[in-house]
């Protein structure tokens, strides 16, 4: 039963991702991406990292996806209707993109095999406490740097969208 659910999530993630890149309607591809993100957060639960799963859902679905939908809705109407594909034949830059994807996949798999632990990982219980302590002690500097970066982006957005320049 649990294995079935796992494969269901895995299938949903791949199918939704493929649909998102192949569909002609932009808004549908956004909703397919939602299904993909949802399935990936389901897979993360299977990886026993439930906090990451929910954070994934919150950041991608609640944040990034909604902003993307806003972008689509506020853009011109031509982009809302069906996008017409210009050429049937595959051009050079598409081959290059495919090559880059394969290269990325190979590199990822190589490092994944290199650093993957041989012994199975055991669930150690409440992971949010461990995560919180690790973030505020061992990884404090990157944590603070990321928050500084976000603050800078926030102030920049406020500056750009201001009507009256300071």
């Amino acid at each position: 039963m649990i294995k079935l659910v796992f494969y269901l999530f895995a299938f949903l993630a791949i199918a939704a991702a493929l649909y998102a890149v192949s569909t002609k309607q932009i808004i549908r591809s956004v909703f397919a991406m939602f299904a993909c993100f949802f399935a990936i957060s389901g897979l993360l639960v299977f990886a026993q990292s439930d906090f990451i799963a929910i954070a994934h859902l919150m950041i991608y679905v609640g944040g990034i996806l909604v902003v993307m939908v806003f972008g689509i809705m506020l853009s011109q109407k031509a982009s809302l209707s069906n996008v017409v594909l210009q050429k049937k034949s595959i051009s050079l830059h598409q081959y290059l993109a495919l090559l880059a994807c394969i290269a990325l996949f190979v590199i990822l798999m190589y490092f994944f095999n290199l650093y993957a632990p041989n012994t199975p990982i055991h669930y150690v219980g409440s992971d949010i406490q461990i995560l919180g302590i690790a973030l505020l002690t061992k990884y404090l500097l990157p944590f603070e740097l990321v928050s500084l970066l976000l603050l800078a982006a926030f102030i920049f957005t406020a500056m750009v969208t201001r009507k009256n320049k300071i």
């Binding site: 929910i54 859902l57 609640g62 909604v66 939908v69 809705m73 409440s126 949010i128």
Partner: protein, 353 residues
């Protein structure tokens, strides 16, 4: 097996609750406006909404010709599923909680953001300008009000130091393992009752409750924040094209959402399944009225009273304008809730130590 049984019972309960809440809303609005409300069907018009729902189920299921048919069908399902998923981490009694995960409240905040996407899907798929405008307004509003709601919740969980809703409930009554202080000076761990509730544990938490309550009204699209479905300007907002069963599902989701946010408020601020009766002198009322069945009774009573408050507010306040709504959120509630978070830290470090 128990898991399936309870989820089916919960679904049935939410359906019946939604019907009764619609009836109660019509009755209360009638009393507020000095009318009588539904009286014909059944005693006091009690069967009115049952009659309405049977009428609705028989209606023709219309899909607009130019609508995106698959998304139009998927939207009500997504909205209702998202709201119903939220009930998984709500504790109903000291012994019963569907899923006692240690990220309970964080999960609930994430679930609310899925509902946003469902509303957007409904508004876009209808291919109707009113629906699209309604859903854009709804999203702008829900995303903005998620911030003060999350910060008010943060102010509470900073004192309890857990995200598990069952443990939050535990720390507000006689079953607590930690010591509880009434406003920081009087130990009430063994007295319990309403003295041990969150809003009486620190002076600033009542303000946190008010901020959370305002934000939850906005997240449910209730008056005074009902601009997404403002009847007088947008017909019905994002669900204007929906008919029959799909409209019923959206309506059910709206009332289930009201109940869900009231449940969260009851758990976080009003002691969840803890009894309001304290152990005073020789009357051990709190000991008698704590238990599985009492717990279910108390939490439902608290949540339903908050739903009643929402209904009362709907028929008392006029609707906000969009800019007033955003001003209230970004310039009043968010700075105030940041101050509350800071105050929670100070309280935890200096008063409770």
């Amino acid at each position: 097996m128990a898991f399936y049984f309870i989820s089916i019972v919960l679904l049935g309960f939410i359906a019946v609750y939604a019907l009764m809440a619609v009836w109660a809303e019509r009755k209360i609005s009638a009393w507020i406006q000095d009318r009588v409300g539904p009286v014909v069907t059944g005693k006091y018009g009690l069967l009115q909404t049952f009659a309405d729902i049977f009428k609705m189920l028989q209606k023709e299921d219309i899909t607009p010709t130019l609508a995106d048919k698959k998304l139009f069908l998927a939207a009500p399902i997504l909205v209702f599923t998202a709201v119903f998923m939220g009930f998984a981490t709500i504790p109903f009694s000291p012994t019963y909680i569907s899923s006692s995960i240690n990220i309970g409240i964080f999960y609930l905040l994430a679930i609310v953001s899925i509902e946003v996407l469902g509303i957007l899907m409904a508004g876009w798929a209808s291919n109707n300008k009113y629906a699209l405008l309604g859903s854009i307004r709804s999203i702008a509003q829900i995303i903005s009000y998620e911030i003060p709601a999350a910060l008010a919740i943060l102010a509470v969980i900073m004192l309890f130091q857990t995200l598990n809703l069952q443990e939050i409930c535990m720390q507000q009554g006689i079953l607590s393992k930690q010591k509880i202080y009434f406003f920081g000076f009087w130990e009430v761990s063994k007295i319990g009752g309403f003295f041990a509730w969150t809003i009486f544990q620190a002076p600033h938490l009542f303000i946190a409750f008010i901020i959370y309550f305002i934000a939850s009204l906005a997240e449910c699209n209730r008056t005074p924040f009902d601009i997404p479905e403002a009847e007088s300007e947008l017909v019905a907002g994002f669900h204007v094209e929906y008919t029959g069963f799909k409209f019923g599902a959206l309506f059910l989701a709206e009332y289930a959402m009201m109940f869900l946010v009231s449940m969260i408020a009851a758990v976080l601020f009003f002691g969840g399944w803890n009894t309001p009766l304290p152990n005073l002198a020789s009357f051990a009322l709190a000991d008698y009225t704590t238990g599985t069945y009492w717990g279910i009774v108390w939490i439902l009573l608290k949540a339903l009273s908050l739903v009643l408050l929402q209904v009362w507010i709907r028929w008392t306040f006029p609707r906000y304008r969009m800019d007033q709504l955003m001003t209230l959120c970004w310039k009043v509630l968010i700075p105030l809730s940041f101050v509350l978070v800071l105050f929670s830290g100070i309280w935890k470090l200096f008063i409770l130590n």
